[in-house]
Symmetry: C2
């Protein structure tokens, strides 16, 4: 802990627009080759390109809203078909207000609109589509981790990130919705501090902090630079997926 440390993040250019069925491991690998990935590098991938490659789109015109979606849509002033899509991705509604639905996503994430996104979805054929989160982002991260590690012959970690709003604070911050090959949480309980006492703030949201760092480089229209390589991180804790970052409802004071 006494020496200086450095962390580098690189966001390659040249990644093409991603479409359903694309081999994301190959596309990301091609983009990262110039950085010669090394053991311990962490590859952060924007949720949108994972969802697109996996074909997680819904044609908005194809959706028939339920009665519940129509009532809620009228309350908050949104398209009932979009509300139907959000509800279909959610375990329950946590809060609603005009133009905003905060839900518990089926994966446990408490987030706006279940992550359903209309921006940056290619109107390639004039059909309006909404983009959903990947079906199982931890599994998607693991597949990318295995594929990219094999391609470069090194041990890589992968995070799939998204930008979430927060309670109490304005603005979004990058968080990990999928992770493989690293500990999403690092439990410091019992680690002595500089004077030998136990640390009070005790569990670090490691993958979320990496996701936030990468978000800084991904840019504002975040498909422009949807992949970031982070180099210089070290950890000793065992791997844990991003699902470990979801606070179980029983220990959550704010749902």
């Amino acid at each position: 802990m006494s020496r200086g440390a450095a962390l580098e993040l690189f966001a390659p250019s040249g990644l093409p627009m991603v479409r359903k069925g694309d081999d994301l491991t190959a596309l990301i690998g091609d983009a990262l080759a110039e950085y010669a990935p090394r053991d311990g590098d962490v590859v952060v991938v924007a949720q949108k390109i994972v969802s697109k490659a996996e074909g997680r789109t819904v044609e908005i015109a194809s959706v028939t809203p339920s009665e519940r979606a129509r009532v809620l849509a009228a309350e908050i002033g949104k398209d009932p078909r979009l509300v139907e899509i959000v509800l279909s991705e959610s375990a329950r509604v946590v809060r609603s207000r005009p133009n905003l639905l905060i839900v518990e996503h089926r994966l446990g994430f408490v987030m706006a609109n279940a992550g359903v996104d209309q921006s940056n979805v290619a109107p390639q054929d004039g059909v309006a589509r909404a983009l959903l989160l990947p079906l199982d982002p931890d599994a998607s991260a693991e597949a990318l981790r295995a594929g990219l590690s094999a391609r470069f012959g090194v041990k890589l970690a992968v995070i799939i990130n998204d930008s979430f709003g927060r309670a109490w604070r304005r603005g979004t911050a990058g968080v990990a919705i999928g992770a493989a090959g690293l500990p999403s949480l690092i439990d410091l309980r019992g680690s002595p501090d500089l004077f030998g006492r136990a640390l009070e703030v005790s569990i670090m949201g490691f993958a979320d902090e990496i996701a936030a760092a990468a978000s800084l480089l991904m840019g504002q229209a975040d498909e422009a630079r949807p992949v970031v390589l982070a180099r210089g991180l070290t950890w000793a804790a065992p791997d844990a997926p991003a699902a470990a970052l979801v606070r179980p409802q029983a220990e959550d004071l704010f749902r």
Copy 2:
């Protein structure tokens, strides 16, 4: 947005233990000199060393708990003197449970224990002390920004960071409690996405994401590397302090 991008973070070694009255601008400047700070570099400073330099400590033995603190302390199983210190830093209690108080700090931050910390406080004289947040972290950041910019003859930005727990997610993440010389929030409303539509997720917690990135390097016993220099960030929005990150209670759905 089409070229690759890079972000570097450096955490110097060699910063001495900080004590009340120390010239923090000089200490941080000495530690950063090896990196030859440039225009646009962001210096992230751990809250603890700012609080220590400002002498924001309370001798625990000197505190007489109020009746309210004694009742609350009995409910949650904490030292009533520590509860008194937390309450004295707080506008109100948001939630409480055994061993945990989530409060609205007098600066508006919703956080555990009002940021009052017993870890890593030097028992230099055998007297137990608690460490409070800086009195005005945005002003502290501005003083550091002005002093460090003058020393190096470049335009720097400064963030004071801390690790906060979050609603809904396990683990802490670095956030900005003070900022100067950069926009704490970047409002993307109206910025077109890749297909010319307005972005839906619209305000980016820029200073919080930088704070989280720096936290990755600060290490677990975070006084070991309490200063991080971030290089490679760019922004066009006007400066806004970290106070802008506090969601006003009237627009907060979770207080």
